[in-house]
């Protein structure tokens, strides 16, 4: 059964997130538990101790519905009507300018590094 397999695989992803949470709490790793779980799963997959077939359908399902999952949090803005005031407008401007700068910086930096390593290869 496909649905059962997806549910079982989501349970596995849950377990990684849960273990990450335990490491966060008891080993005082400052990262969020889910991020620790992500890193653990990635390392387990790369080290071949864990087969990608055990999580591919569950992961694919969750990522396909990812935008759905943060709707309950998004609706929380209902408690912050001040976002519709002048302050909200300032915040909007900050997000716009900062995102434009970030696109420029990330793109230029990667392009620069790419061209540099290309040139080095050509010189060889």
């Amino acid at each position: 059964m496909n649905i059962l397999r997806i549910l079982a695989q989501i349970a596995i992803l849950f377990a990684f997130s849960f273990i990450g949470g335990l490491l966060h709490t008891y080993l005082h790793i400052p990262l969020p538990g889910s991020i620790i779980g992500l890193i653990l799963l990635f390392l387990a997959l790369c080290a071949n101790v864990f087969s990608v077939k055990w999580i591919n359908q569950g992961a694919g399902f969750l990522l396909a519905f990812l935008p759905f999952l943060f709707i309950p949090t998004l609706i929380g803005v209902i408690n912050y009507p001040e976002l519709l005031s002048n302050k909200g407008f300032l915040l909007l401007i900050v997000v716009v300018i900062s995102t434009i700068i970030t696109i420029g910086a990330a793109g230029r930096a990667s392009q620069y590094s790419e061209n540099k390593s290309k040139r080095r290869q050509e010189e060889k």
Binding site: A59, P72, L90
Partner: protein, 228 residues
């Protein structure tokens, strides 16, 4: 018992509205009709018109929230699938994502500070370039408000999706790798869907950048409290 019924009702309403908005988006694929945003607006209007509090909504909403942890872990899957591309282009990826993650957080915080916004808003602003489920976690660890962070994340994504092509031209970013990394590290999933229009390589670069920005953002976010 009534709690369970309320929860089931809220969850089914949220799913139905989301599916409806998804259907609408498939017909009119405009960035202004992104299902997450339209679903949010419809639900907020419903809650206000029927005088339902956010706490009541959360009786069902918290069940949806509980899937966020596994969804973040699931990001390991695309990262693993792209591991060869990641290894082959490790230098431009790390340069772009590292500088992108830093610029995204620092410029957001600095501009908010210059505009005289308060500390909670500055902290809610910092994780805006990170994919929403991780941004929410980082925001609450920093002491920001996750709900407000999600709004910023949504806007950052929309800017990449709407103005991405113009901005890439403006900054003379011509390589497929650069385009993908720029959109993925500044505008997460929405930027990545735009990057897919530049071909397979841009798309892969963008999804790798999105996952790495989330990891780097979470690491930087966890270090910030040590300095302030």
């Amino acid at each position: 018992m009534t709690q369970i019924l309320i929860a089931l009702f809220i969850i089914s309403m949220t799913i139905l509205i989301y599916l409806g908005m998804n259907y609408l988006y498939n017909y009119f694929p405009s960035p202004f009709l992104v299902p997450m945003m339209t679903t949010g607006i419809v639900l907020i209007l419903l809650l206000i018109s029927f005088h339902v509090s956010y706490d009541t909504y959360l009786i069902g909403g918290k069940w949806i929230n509980s899937l966020l942890g596994p969804a973040v872990v699931a990001l390991a899957y695309p990262l693993y699938n792209q591991r060869q591309i990641l290894r082959k282009n490790i230098k431009p990826i790390m340069a772009g994502v590292g500088i992108g993650a830093f610029t995204g957080m620092a410029s957001g915080a600095l501009l908010s500070f210059l505009f005289g916004l308060n500390k909670v808003m500055i902290l809610s602003m910092m994780p805006k370039s990170i994919t929403a489920p991780v941004a929410m976690e980082v925001s609450s660890e920093l002491g920001g408000i996750p709900a407000i962070t999600v709004v910023f994340v949504l806007i950052a994504g929309l800017i990449g999706a709407i103005f991405g092509p113009i901005l890439l031209k403006l900054f003379h970013i011509k390589s497929s790798i650069g385009k993908g990394i720029a959109l993925g590290s500044a505008s997460h999933a929405l930027g990545t869907s735009k990057a897919s229009e530049y071909g397979e390589l841009s798309f892969s670069m963008s999804s790798v950048s999105m996952a790495l920005t989330a990891i780097i953002g979470a690491i930087v976010g966890s270090l910030i409290p040590l300095f302030f």
